[in-house]
């Protein structure tokens, strides 16, 4: 079947009343958690994982994906109106958009980021639609050694690109790998690191780790370190509509941002940070008014926001076609697939074509919903920003505790949650990124499985990883990702400075 027929069958799934409703719930929740500081898409999807026992796979996954890309839309609202940068991918928007808001141009800033997100999200979904079948073709040729090498690449890029230190990123990754070891080895049935505690035999739930690091750790940090920090909320006056001038300056930036963001999302390079900064630099270079940058240039919001969105949709390509998550939220989406006994990868496109294409089609629908939610209804979301911090964080922790306790009705998990939260606080305080922990704990067991399969094929000869050309090239790339920045600092042109 060709792409068009597949996509049409996907729309048949996505446009059922029930799945439309799930998409709407997903993008609405996504926008809300994107707007609210202190809670993000990773925590939200993690907290909602228990519904996988009640809802069918396509409905739940459509909703989870909606939360994932809806949060990108909502996040920009907060970074424009609030002077505290939220997630790292929106730092640039926070710089330029907040400057616009301070000069009374909050409306056009919100509009260009919402429309830009829509343009980028839709173009990137088209990219996803046509690129996925090609990557699936490629993926079908991969054997265990190639998959193992690909996962190693994902490990190295996620830990060296996210955060500002490769060393601390790797430490986070290995912490995640260690957490992933806990429980029963799924190939031999051997219990590992369970210490006879029955709750640990099933492994540590990703919900506990994600909620602990992102919600509890963040909240402890916000209360005990940032309690005194002042935040100013810019008011939204007048129309959110853009003038002809704004359109003229924005549309090229949206397109350029999309073409910068999408490729970065599709390679397992982790995060939307680099493409947003790249897009910002490009816009600044090409603008006929570079002097406005830093003081509220609309291109500086339009481009990076488009890049941010395009790269988050682009990240769906490796997730769906190869089973490779490149961010914390993508890793939790992967574990949502696993709850249904599904493993994203080339075979999913054959065995569950209706599900995958329904999910892809829902991206088109969801982006239209998000445009409506974030443009005419943006005033509603601004209200969410007026919730005072004490009550906001208190509410977040009540939800977090409920989700972790309710998962298996176990107070043990609540105490574990606090321990993980303390760990998250320490990590935040000393600059360790949290996302590699999540990617490590979810991807680690899969990488181990592929490694042992590959070694079963070669009867224990580890040279299989270097004699297969694709796997050898990927492993070389992984080494390069780790070594190159270090070598650059040491032997590069500015090494003596």
């Amino acid at each position: 079947m060709d792409v068009w027929a597949q996509l049409a069958s996907g729309f048949a799934v996505a446009l059922t009343a029930q799945n439309l409703l799930w998409a709407l719930v997903g993008v609405t929740l996504g926008t809300a958690v994107g707007v609210l500081p202190g809670v993000g898409p990773a925590v939200t999807v993690a907290l909602l994982l228990p519904i996988t026992t009640k809802v069918d796979a396509s409905g739940a996954l459509i909703m989870f994906a909606g939360i994932y890309y809806g949060a990108m839309y909502g996040g920009s609202t907060t970074s424009i109106l609030l002077n505290t940068p939220g997630e790292s991918a929106t730092i640039v928007t926070a710089m330029e958009g907040n400057q616009m808001a301070r000069r009374g141009r909050a409306g056009p800033a919100l509009a260009t980021s919402a429309i830009g997100s829509f343009v980028a999200g839709t173009l990137a979904t088209i990219g996803l639609t046509f690129l996925s079948p090609l990557v699936v073709e490629l993926g079908l040729k991969f054997g265990p050694p190639e998959y193992f090498a690909l996962m190693i690449v994902a490990f190295t890029t996620v830990s060296s690109v996210l955060g500002d230190s490769t060393l601390r990123g790797m430490a986070s990754l290995f912490l995640g790998l260690a957490i992933g070891l806990v429980g029963i080895d799924n190939q031999t049935g051997q219990a590992r690191f369970a210490f006879g505690v029955p709750q640990l035999l099933d492994g540590i739930e990703v919900v506990t780790i994600a909620v602990g690091l992102f919600a509890v750790g963040e909240t402890i940090y916000a209360a005990s370190k940032l309690g005194q920090a002042k935040e100013t909320l810019e008011t939204l006056r007048g129309s959110v509509w853009m003038k002809a001038e704004d359109w003229r300056r924005s549309w090229k930036a949206w397109i350029r941002g999309t073409f910068i963001g999408f490729p970065f999302g599709t390679i397992p390079a982790g995060g939307a940070e680099i493409p947003t900064f790249l897009s910002y630099a490009v816009e600044r270079k090409l603008s006929d008014r570079p002097e406005e940058f830093g003081k509220g240039a609309i291109e500086g919001v339009a481009g990076p926001e488009a890049a941010n969105n395009a790269s988050s949709t682009g990240a769906m390509v490796p997730l769906l076609t190869l089973g490779l998550p490149t961010s914390a939220t993508a890793a939790i989406l992967l574990s949502a697939f696993q709850q249904y006994g599904l493993q994203p990868g080339p075979l999913l496109f054959e065995a569950n074509a209706a599900l995958v294409w329904g999910l892809i089609a829902s991206f088109y629908v969801g982006n239209v919903m998000l445009l409506v939610l974030n443009l005419p209804m943006v005033g509603l979301w601004v209200k969410l920003l007026e919730i005072p911090k004490p009550q906001l964080y208190a509410g977040i922790l009540v939800f977090a505790a409920m989700g972790v306790y309710g998962m298996r009705q176990s107070p043990f998990d609540v105490f574990l949650l606090y321990a993980v939260g303390l760990g998250g606080f320490v990590m935040r305080r000393f600059g360790f990124p949290a996302a590699p922990v999540i990617v490590g704990m979810i991807l680690g067991p899969l990488a181990e499985e592929q490694m042992r399969r590959a070694l079963a094929i070669s009867q224990g000869d580890p040279r299989i990883f270097v004699t297969h050309p694709i796997s050898a090239a990927l492993l070389a790339l992984a080494v390069l990702v780790i070594v190159a920045p270090w070598a650059w600092r040491r032997f590069g042109p500015r090494a003596r400075a």
């Binding site: 430490a171 009550q391 490694m451």
Partner: protein, 161 residues
Amino acid sequence: MTPSRPKGHLAVAAGVLALGVFVLVGAWDLPAGGGYAQVGPGVVPRIVGGGLVLLGALLLREALTGGFRGVDEEAEVHLPMDWAAFAWLGGGILAYGFLVERAGFLLASTLLFIAVARGFASRRWVLNAFVGAAVAGFIFAVFNYGLGLQLPPGVLRGVLP
């Protein structure tokens, strides 16, 4: 000038190192061989443990030579640790763990809400109690009745529908 050696950095680096040793010791008893692959369940734990030891050692070197790269201890001075807030949050979560099955979901959640809000320096006890109870009631209604998650009614057993 001797390089500064931030104590926190030393402790964290030592913690990573200790975790690595812990994983290695735990991996000791796990069979490393066996099967076609000749790779048993003990191999990856050894790699992970070894990796953590190596990373811990490298972190320790950074900590001893001026602190972790890119972590600005000067800026930290302006963000003093608020231990009271820290204690309110910790107390709230631990109390939740003890109370959720004994006193029930609604009471435990309301107390957690009050404790966290207090951690953020809100002293409007009555307002927070009301809002907390409302949030807890909303969650209970949606998840217990709506989604069929079993949340313990606790002391309110029989009172709740």
